[in-house]
Amino acid sequence: MTREEVLNKYGKSKDNLLYILHDIQDSNPRHYLTEEDLKEVAKWLELPYSYVHGVATFYSMFSLKPRGKYIIRVCESPTCHLMGASNIIIELVKSLGVGIGETTKDEIFTLELTSCIGVCGVAPAMMINSEVYGNLTSEKIAQIIDEKRRESK
């Protein structure tokens, strides 16, 4: 969907702000909101620009920076932590060569941390875009990253 299509879909009621931002971000291949996006949304809903900025930066699912094709979100909540999430994070940092919140040079992966994603039964877990991966081990990580890298080519 283009931004205009999203805006038209929702109408002008201010409580739609979050859903509009969701949809616009989802239609961006780099999974983020541009300055232009926030500006146009503010105009459409007749909200102050700063207000839209305040809302967009409150929620962790929104990003104002371009991200990779795949957003890897590793759960760092207590259950996953107990089951070894820190090792998973170290493993990912190593194999991707980026820090938390950063995107790989080839723009394929962005590494993020997340609070509980509700799949603690298979901790440690992570999400790649909307897909869940659980019972993670170092070997599994390598395998998943390889696979995704191949898919993106």
């Binding site: 702000l17 969701h22 409150f58 929620y59 760092e76 207590p78 107990l82 659980g134």
Partner: protein, 535 residues
């Protein structure tokens, strides 16, 4: 139309998906087709049945036989032996059947769960409204609309003793009554499906496994409080829940269970799903309302409470998913029936998630008042890998670290209070002897630091101070007085934070340091080795 001879249920959850259940389903369908069984045997995708770590699962009805760790290569045998000849394939059966295993038929499973809210989850096709209706769904709504006044509904719920499952345990009937009696005609019911409490995914399983049950509960609630509109505020991350709930709502509109003149009565009720965007604090009811209004999810001051000043400042009842999913059964089977389950002051069942170092991590629904020991050692199968139990974090991140001596506590709102603990969301994180409690508390504090909305100074700065203090402990740079500072600070935060998020950190902080003091003190020694703290 042929009536299927058998139902084959394939639980779809993160675990089974990971094991390739999608490909398995395709292969199974092909095999059935090859054998001309596709009319006779119906394959259904269902939500999780609460078993994890066992690969691809399959449940076959009417026998109620459970298979686990299935591979595509097993399909010909399953079809040939079981589906055609009616002989279950013994070596593929779920071997060591967990004590908490869901039992429908009496086929020798050790123990039965008491299922009320999850009675249909994993048993029916959640995307098919007819199946829900076939198992008695929407009968409660029909009863309510045809023979009960809103006041009678509230009275029945009050009598049932149902208490909110979102954490605080507030009597649901009372909340509805306040909302009903509040001034104004425009009112709302909001279902809190933000489920962000770490270690909790019960609401997701209800929505994915039996979305109509939640809908029915919500419509009844709407009728009772005099609302015209309901919102379900679902965590943004829960994509499948959102899809299933949307399908359920769409179907309900088609069946005139939602919309104008519900089921031909003059009750009109609309429902909409709203999606969060990643903020734990939005589970707090006033923050949730702010977020629904398109704002930053910062809690409001209470009082006034949502029951008088909620969404758009109109009277609003905010109820948890599990709370609402209890309602249809209460209405259908009577308050007295409900009171016969659970304890005197906390009737009914509770859905718990058992996680961490247990043999069977996952989710169970049992009667209120079941002991922690029972849950961990029977339903959870005890500690994994032959290790010893060390402690459990009960009630989610805002919960309490309980040592072994508290294992016999009854899991209900009031009994836990005696141990200065809380039921919270029903998450139970079990830790074995290798766990470092300092490291676990670190993880909890980091969570709060990340999720504080930042609106008020005690929590915004307090969580960060606690974070730097626990890091000092981890690094072996702390003094004993730092432990006191942590406890004092968390107590001040309890007394002065704006909302329960900042207030609740006192529970994990105090219980960890007090119940596992030696370990904390040991960390003060510079030479102490701890792998978990990376030193």
């Amino acid at each position: 139309m042929t009536v299927p001879r058998m139902h084959v249920l394939l639980p779809f959850d993160p675990d089974t998906l990971l094991s390739g259940v999608k490909e398995f389903e395709k292969a199974l369908l092909d095999e059935l087709k090859k054998n001309n069984l596709e009319e006779e045997i119906k394959v259904l995708e269902t939500g999780s049945i609460g078993v994890t770590g066992r690969g691809i699962l399959m449940v076959v009805y009417p026998e109620g036989v459970y298979y686990a760790n299935l591979k595509i290569a097993d399909i010909p045998r399953l079809v040939g032996e079981h589906f055609v000849k009616g002989r279950p394939v013994k070596d593929l059966l779920l071997g060591e059947v967990p004590a908490r295993f869901v039992k429908r038929e009496k086929v020798g499973l050790v123990r039965e769960q008491k299922r009320v809210v999850l009675e249909n989850a994993g048993m029916i096709d959640p995307e098919n409204i007819d199946e829900y209706i076939a198992v008695g769904g929407y009968e409660a709504l029909e009863k309510v609309l045809s023979s009960m006044t809103p006041e009678e509904v509230i009275e029945e719920v009050k009598k049932s003793g149902l208490r909110g499952r979102g954490g605080a345990g507030f009597p649901t009937g009372l909340k509805w009554e306040f909302t009903r009696k509040a001034e104004g005609t425009e009112k709302y019911i909001i279902c809190n499906a933000d489920e962000g409490e770490p270690g909790t995914f019960k609401d997701r399983l209800i929505m994915e496994g039996d979305p109509h049950k939640l809908l029915e509960g919500m419509i009844i609630a709407g009728y009772a409080i005099g609302a015209q509109k309901g919102y379900i505020y679902v965590r943004g991350e829960y994509e499948l829940s959102i899809r299933r709930m949307q399908k359920a709502i769409d179907d309900a509109y088609k069946y005139n269970i939602l919309g104008k003149n519900v089921l031909g009565t003059n009750f009109t009720f609309d429902m909409e799903i709203k999606k969060g965007a990643g903020a734990y604090v939005c589970g707090e009811e006033t923050a949730l309302i702010e977020s629904l209004e398109g704002k930053r999810g910062q809690p409001r001051n209470k009082p006034p409470y949502p029951v008088t000043h909620g969404l758009w400042m109109k009277p609003t009842s905010v109820n948890n998913v599990e709370t609402l999913a209890n309602v249809p059964s209460i209405i259908k089977n009577s308050a007295d029936w409900y009171r016969s389950i659970g304890t005197e002051k906390c009737p009914g069942t509770k859905v718990f998630t058992i996680l961490g170092h247990v043999v069977y991590p996952g989710l169970i629904e049992v009667e209120m008042g079941t002991t922690l020991r029972d849950i961990i050692f029977n339903y959870g199968g005890g500690i994994k890998d032959g290790k010893k139990f060390k402690g459990a974090l009960v009630g989610g991140a805002a919960g309490v670290f309980l040592p072994e001596k508290f294992l016999d506590v009854k899991m209900d709102f009031d009994s836990l209070k005696e141990y200065k603990a809380v039921l919270g969301s029903g998450a139970i994180l079990v830790m074995n002897e290798d766990t470092c409690m300092v490291d676990m508390l670190f993880s909890i504090i980091r969570f709060f630091k990340h999720e504080s909305c930042g609106q008020c100074s005690p929590c915004r700065i307090g969580t960060y101070e606690l974070y730097s203090l626990i890091n000092k402990v981890r690094a072996g740079e702390a003094k004993e007085s730092d432990l006191e500072t942590m406890i004092n600070l968390s107590e001040i935060m309890f007394k002065s934070s704006f909302c329960p998020l900042g207030q609740s950190l006192v529970m994990p902080v105090k219980s960890a340091i007090e119940n596992f003091r030696e370990e904390f003190v040991a960390h003060l020694d510079k030479n102490y080795q701890c792998e978990k703290c990376r030193r």
